[in-house]
Symmetry: C2
Subunit: 514 residues, 2 copies
Amino acid sequence: MVEATTRKRGRSGGGAARRAARGSAVVETARYIERNIPDLEILNEEALQIIEHNAETVLEEIGVNFVNNPGALERWRQAGAEIDGERVRIPRGLARKLCATAPSRFTQVARNPAKTVEIGGRNLVLAPVYGPPFVHDAEGGRRYATIDDFRNFVKLGQMSRWLHHSGGTVCEPTDVPVNKRHLDMLHAHMTLSDKPFMGSVTEPSRAQDSVDMCGVLFGEQFVQDNTVMTSLININSPLTFDDTMMGALEVYAANNQACIISPFIVGGAMAPVSVAGTLTQVLAEGLAGVAYSQLVRPGAPVIFGAFVTSIDMNSGAPTFGTPEAAQITYGAGQLARRLGLPFRSAGSFCGSKLPDAQAAYETANTLNNGLLAGVNFMLHACGWLEGGLVASYEKFVMDADQLGALHKMAAGVAVDESAQAMDALREVGPGGHYLGCAHTQAHFKTAFWRSELFDYKPFETWIEEGGRDTLTLASERVRKLLASYEQPSMDPATAEALDAFVAAKKASMPDSFM
Amino acid sequence: MVEATTRKRGRSGGGAARRAARGSAVVETARYIERNIPDLEILNEEALQIIEHNAETVLEEIGVNFVNNPGALERWRQAGAEIDGERVRIPRGLARKLCATAPSRFTQVARNPAKTVEIGGRNLVLAPVYGPPFVHDAEGGRRYATIDDFRNFVKLGQMSRWLHHSGGTVCEPTDVPVNKRHLDMLHAHMTLSDKPFMGSVTEPSRAQDSVDMCGVLFGEQFVQDNTVMTSLININSPLTFDDTMMGALEVYAANNQACIISPFIVGGAMAPVSVAGTLTQVLAEGLAGVAYSQLVRPGAPVIFGAFVTSIDMNSGAPTFGTPEAAQITYGAGQLARRLGLPFRSAGSFCGSKLPDAQAAYETANTLNNGLLAGVNFMLHACGWLEGGLVASYEKFVMDADQLGALHKMAAGVAVDESAQAMDALREVGPGGHYLGCAHTQAHFKTAFWRSELFDYKPFETWIEEGGRDTLTLASERVRKLLASYEQPSMDPATAEALDAFVAAKKASMPDSFM
């Protein structure tokens, strides 16, 4: 399937004619979600205070490690922390005080201004899966990801009505040298999509390359004045901040670019095997990380992240869509809101090896959880499979379809006169039928969310059409979307400059696969 | 698959020996859920007041029809309603006032006292799918349901740890005459399960048979003194109460047995194509129905029900797991709580023709919705397929597994000293590992919910074991559960009396398939 699509993409020319022949391929992107429903608050005030008190105790008594990073230790020393080797012990209240300069919301500008997003407040911005070394499709099964896969996923993201963000490492392009991948990945996001995107974090120098490429795309001064990237900085839980991630954070913060500062926790392995204990660690780590970003540059835009899931104690495997993971996400959202910080969590998480019923239960559990937990930035919102080892073509479009339902759910319930529908109730009366009444005729096209993927047909029609399951329908949708993809227009001089930047950077260093 | 199981069941004797050989087959049933998390309240006070005001306007101005039921019209007349033919117009406030005698919670006694349930308050009781004329299994596909299927589903329910209730028409035994089905169905629930169950509602005389059979099982006086059935009374939306359903309700209420009084609404067809309009109708219908139950017998136990979903305006098919259905369920829960009544809604709803990813997304959306909407009695909590036309063997065990996650989620977050895990945080410290620490060792067995169905193994192991999808795993689980089923013990005299009751009733009338 993917091979065929790649070949098709190779045929050039006649875009407008093709588009006319098959109908417009340009898919409008929905505005980011602005919630009009409350968050679910599962922790009461007493529980929140216990966890907040304990997190400060962790920072004060146990402390955190900033590894191989003398500059960070010096910043902490000057801020009033106690430094012992690489251990940083942070007096009670200091981290929270430092976090106060972080903005409660910020704007990430897209090259298409209509796709610029506001991160924070009651908003929810959806971004695709991040990081899988493998891809999976129904026809070819599971295999190492390539740059062609990467470009396909960027295109699918661009084509998704419900995805607001192009993401970052939608899959690892394992056929490109490790030290040059970030250039091809950023180039793909910048040229194949016009949605906002993420920068590289695998080396401070690659973060700088990301900033420089954004300078080419947006203009250097524009990048200093505006946030044009939101990048993912993971904490090495428990309580450890490594020099690679912190180095990338330092580059981004210094350049006014946003970072998600996020514990990466499988509870029971990297955190205590209890929800309250894990939340304590999440808060301690988030406080220390966000505080550090503000030591680098007060006011730097950051997101309080929580990638946390549970573990299967039989196999040691991480488990997804579980009740404990949901409880942690709900609780972390409450803690982030009390800090006044944008919150990142949840996603299309599943442990299943296939985009089957297990995957869908686990994912739906987590997507609903994320919506109701007040998540502001949802990375991995579609395409995640097998504990994040795999980006699935079919699951990408399945999940992306479900994201539409989140939009409608979040909009809340209208109670204006039209929505009250008293005219309809009076017109139809006992024993009547609403399908033909004036109110229904006026509103039926927009009243109810409708999947663009699922089969709603009667059994007999469904059988006549081949009795296809969701996986088969999703494969067909992937093919159709990639075949009808249209590249968003770009000023040719900018496109050439981006090509030249990538070519020059690649030429400046030998390939490395380490 | 099902055939094989049926044959196996035919072999009698040696139960204890078989049980010893394969390990205990007796599955403990979890206690009904007692929520320790809040409900999600998506309607604000203003919206609730608008809907409540409009519902009273509907009752007062439009009214409801009680069809072919002079007794009901007379009851309403004496209560102060205005009668016009079969139309009953209920003065503002009267229905709500009549509802006040309905208990806010009640006990449904099971023949195994350990499985007695409390319906109402913060509780959630889970019951299986109800009503499908078809069954589906992976091997045999879709076909008309038989009494053997019925018995299989009762057995699966008895074997499910997370199902508190045996339900009612788990599928329609289409090979049994219509006028005798209820006898075989009740006999199956009474003898193959020891969980609480539902009575027949397809004719007032069959409701009376249900009461009489309970008299045999529990003793006649016990039945008068205790609620031993909760039965499903649907309202013919919009705003119509037919004589069959009301006749059954009258029998149950007069005998102190519980009824779910429930609109059955596909929004856009049987109610306005808006959430607020549909909620108005749901409330009007619920008020009228519950009020009527209290006219029959003040204090009769009832549940305020809401079976409501959205419609696909392209095909006219009902759609499930949609955001509008969720909003209606959340709102209806708020309205029921303001009435002080137990609330029934949600279930393992899906429109998919297969237990595939579509089914799982739709179902997980609805199960989460039901938990957070404060549902007290969830009918259809497992096994529903294809808009309720089909009871699926595999989906029954998939959904039943997910119900375990609801239990854990509902339990909320412990913040006692052990859950705070400060000892673990101190023991492990930055860069350490929690798997071996004392706190993890003490708690790992019970800390995290674990699916009994899903595959958590690494990719390589999963491939070695055949790369099975969820459907395949579920088929295996169905086979295993049915093979290891053990009938709960019953006093032989009671068993004989039940057999005799059914035989005598069947002999008293000719078969009818109408």
